[in-house]
């Protein structure tokens, strides 16, 4: 029995063919150019043509939190990130390295920055902007929108700026507003947490969580809009930049 148990113990590491190198072996200018071609077809859909994020994380940064080493970057590109939308790929190792080389080049090439003042931005977020009514940052804030505690590691300045000015321009599939009507006439509106052909789960505006089998429901309506208001005209251009600067400081360092 114990040999069997030990076998299980040593099965711990996922079975991956990680190259045993510390430097990217395909990082010449020609490799980066080929990497860019591959990236456009395979990565830009989520990460954007310039790597500034969107559905996927912002890659146009010097420090990629999930890829601190070249080997880690190779692993993320090759194997994806489990249980996130980042998928694995069956590309050959050379192509994986070329994409990795291009991704590294994005950080140094990016002109995307903000001149805003983070301390001033924190004030706007908690006071004038009213952001914490819906968004959580550490111990503070609400539940209607996504938590922002690590948004600075995920999104580029350009993406954040765009979201503040035109929130509807880039809708994600999470945090959709849903309204269901039960067969006995009750109507419940809230954030859709999950849905499948047979059931739907909703968190209402009082933070009550509901789950329905659809056969109990007369109607299900999931809206293709966001409840987030545009801050165009509500905040000055300088205040928007301050908010962006503050959000960029949020990297999971809550408390």
């Amino acid at each position: 029995m114990i040999p069997v148990l030990l076998w299980f113990l040593f099965q711990a590491a996922p079975l991956m063919d990680l190259p045993n190198v510390t430097e990217n072996p395909y990082a010449a200018a020609a490799d980066i150019a080929l990497g860019q071609k591959l990236y456009k077809g395979r990565c830009a859909g989520c990460h954007g043509l310039t790597g500034d994020g969107g559905k996927g994380a912002n890659l146009a940064v010097r420090d990629l939190p999930r890829a601190q080493t070249e080997q880690a970057l190779y692993r993320v590109v090759r194997y994806g990130i489990p249980e996130t939308e980042m998928p694995a790929t069956l590309m050959a190792p050379r192509e994986v390295w070329q994409i990795a080389a291009f991704v590294r080049s994005l950080g140094s090439a990016s002109q995307d920055a903000t001149r805003g003042n983070a301390a001033a931005g924190e004030q706007v977020v908690s006071a004038k902007g009213g952001c914490l009514q819906c968004h959580a940052i550490g111990l503070k804030g609400g539940r209607m929108g996504p938590a922002l505690s690590d948004i600075g590691g995920k999104r580029s300045p350009g993406h954040l700026r765009g979201k503040l000015l035109d929130p509807a321009a880039d809708l994600v599939d999470t945090f959709r507003l849903a309204t269901v009507t039960t067969k006995d006439g009750r109507k419940i509106t809230g954030v859709r947490l999950n849905e499948d052909p047979f059931s739907i789960q909703i968190r209402d505006f009082s933070d009550g969580i509901h789950s329905f089998f659809k056969e109990q429901l007369a109607s299900v309506h999931v809206e293709r809009r966001t409840t987030m208001p545009s801050y165009k005209g509500r905040l000055s251009a300088a205040e928007i930049e301050d908010v962006v600067a503050y959000l960029l400081t949020l990297r999971g360092n809550v408390q």
Binding site: I2, R66, A136, D207
Partner: protein
């Protein structure tokens, strides 16, 4: 599946309530829920629910399955509050799941460093909930507070530095306004702590070092500086008694595991139960089961608290079937030893003296050539849970019966490196035995036993439906008659080992049995 609308309305009303300490004190008032790791503070893992019972359990069917995509062992006991299940997943992830449908309400995925120090699998045994926060310990040594409604991180506190060999696998315990949490690291010489953090803020409330420092009582039980790498980690959830205001928590093996030469002495408080004040973390009493352990017999089993008569006197008791193959009954007010006797094959002690101290058999210390000793490293019991039923007054334990060949080896401590000082192997030709046994709690007499095919890695649940649930290494979950041990139901769930504990809950007026089996969490009910 049809669900009456009235029940849904009830569920909605309940959903708005928060989990208060008052509710944690009285889980018996809300048997639909499973509020703490062991179901109550006394470690009983018993439910008053009777809808699933000895007359209908044969009709139990799978309601839903939630699969983790990790290949690591799925050891967690879920918590269920008002229709929502909170469960940790390996390695340091968690999910909130709708208990009607099995659909996730939110999920949390932690990015872990590549250089973790984990002896025995990247596992997690569960979460604690208090107020609107759910608490998760992580393999990189953090304690996290997540919003129960969204999964957003509300605070993130570093408990220990994983680079020193620590990890966190234990389910935390919410007591009053604090979150109590232990650590693992016994194979890395990581000096144990039992910590409490303020539930709202994550600030440390107290720390109890399980290996006393210089000048503290007990430090003299470690030769030289060996206390610094003394381990005695705290990786299984303990119990709490509001009447004594004491937290009872088991401690692990002294470091290094199998070479005792470098740490001569009794090595307090390794392999002990420690009783600490819930408000201050100060030690009230301790009882060391295996002084100067050289076989890796962590006392990291779940302590079970009952009140019963012993030799004509009503007492507050602590039951502890130990990994070292002795069954102990202690007075939990004073720590006084009341009873101790072997409950599985053991060859290391002639018996226990009047104070409960073992009388060692010569020649059982590990050697370079290897020495054969019973029980094995995994012991007669391990981290998985027993169950106590106040209905039958029986104590149910999944018992392992096996030996091992123990080796000693070099032991030079370097922070963050493996520090076990030896090894072990199975005894060639020996067939391990496994049982579910029902014990009379104060005498350790066997009321009945159910023989398993191999020595188990899964705990048990008892219910007032006259049932005991358990699981096998061969992938089945099963139900036994709680009074007789007669088998009543089984289900083949996985080709993997089962390493977890069953629990039960009810939602919309319907009772479910839930357990992680292989890499999936199953919920069973009667249609």
């Amino acid at each position: 599946m049809k669900i009456p609308a009235i029940l849904l309305v009830c569920a909605l009303a309940a959903a708005a309530q928060q989990l208060t300490y008052e509710r944690l004190l009285h889980p018996e008032k809300e048997p639909s829920n499973w509020l703490t790791y062991s179901g109550n503070y006394a470690g009983h893992r018993h439910s008053p629910l009777t809808q699933i019972n000895d007359s209908n359990v044969g009709k139990l069917k799978v309601a839903w399955v939630y699969q983790t995509n990790s290949l690591q062992k799925f050891e967690a006991t879920p918590i269920v509050i008002d229709g929502i299940m909170y469960v940790s997943e390996p390695p340091s992830n968690m999910a909130a799941i709708d208990t009607r449908t099995g659909r996730a309400l939110w999920r949390y995925r932690r990015q872990l460093p590549d250089d973790l120090r984990v002896c025995c699998g990247q596992v997690n045994r569960g979460v604690a909930v208090l107020g609107d926060l759910v608490y998760l310990g992580t393999l990189d040594g953090h304690l996290l507070a997540l919003d129960t409604k969204t999964g957003a991180i509300r605070w993130d506190t570093v408990v220990v530095d994983y680079k020193l060999g620590y990890s966190i696998t234990v389910a935390p315990l919410a007591v009053k306004d604090k979150i109590v949490i232990g650590v693992a690291g016994g194979e890395y010489g990581a000096r144990g702590v039992l910590d409490a953090y303020h539930a709202r803020t994550g600030k440390q409330a107290w720390r109890f070092w399980t290996v006393p420092g210089p000048g503290e009582p007990g430090n003299e039980t470690w030769k030289g500086d060996s206390w610094k790498s003394g381990a005695a980690d705290t990786w299984v959830t303990g119990a709490f008694d509001p009447a004594t205001n004491l937290i009872y928590w088991g401690t692990g093996n002294p470091g290094p595991d199998w070479n005792g030469e470098v740490r001569l002495g009794d090595n307090l408080y390794s392999d002990s139960i420690v009783a600490v004040d819930a408000d201050s973390g100060k030690l009230k009493w301790y009882f060391q089961f295996t002084p100067h352990d050289v076989h890796d017999w962590d006392a990291t089993e779940v302590p079970v608290l009952i009140d019963a008569e012993v030799r004509g006197e009503k007492r507050k008791l602590l039951l502890f079937p130990n990994r070292n193959a002795f069954y102990y009954v202690l007075d939990r007010v004073t720590g006084k030893f009341l009873l101790g006797k072997p409950y599985a094959k053991q060859t290391w002690a002639k018996g226990l003296d009047d104070s409960g101290r073992p009388i060692r058999v010569e020649g059982t210390t590990p050697t370079l050539q290897g020495v054969k000793v019973w029980p094995s490293v995994a012991g007669a019991n391990n981290w998985y849970s027993p169950a106590y039923s106040p209905v039958t007054n029986l104590f149910y334990v999944a018992v392992r019966d096996s030996g091992a060949v123990y080796y000693t080896g070099e032991a030079v401590y370097k922070p963050g490196e493996r520090f076990d000082g030896g090894g072990f192997r199975a005894i060639a030709g020996e067939e391990e035995q496994g049982f579910i046994r029902a014990y009379k709690p104060t005498t350790a007499e066997v009321a009945w036993e159910y023989k398993l095919h191999s020595a188990p890695w899964a705990g048990v649940l008892s219910t007032a439906g006259n049932l005991v649930f358990g699981a096998t290494n061969e992938g089945q979950i099963f139900a036994l008659n709680a009074r007789t041990g007669a088998p009543l139901w089984r289900f083949q769930a996985t080709s993997l080992l089962v390493r977890s504990n069953p629990m039960t809950y009810a939602v919309d007026g319907k009772q479910y049995i839930a357990m992680t089996l292989g890499n999936s969490l199953y919920a069973f009910t009667i249609e």
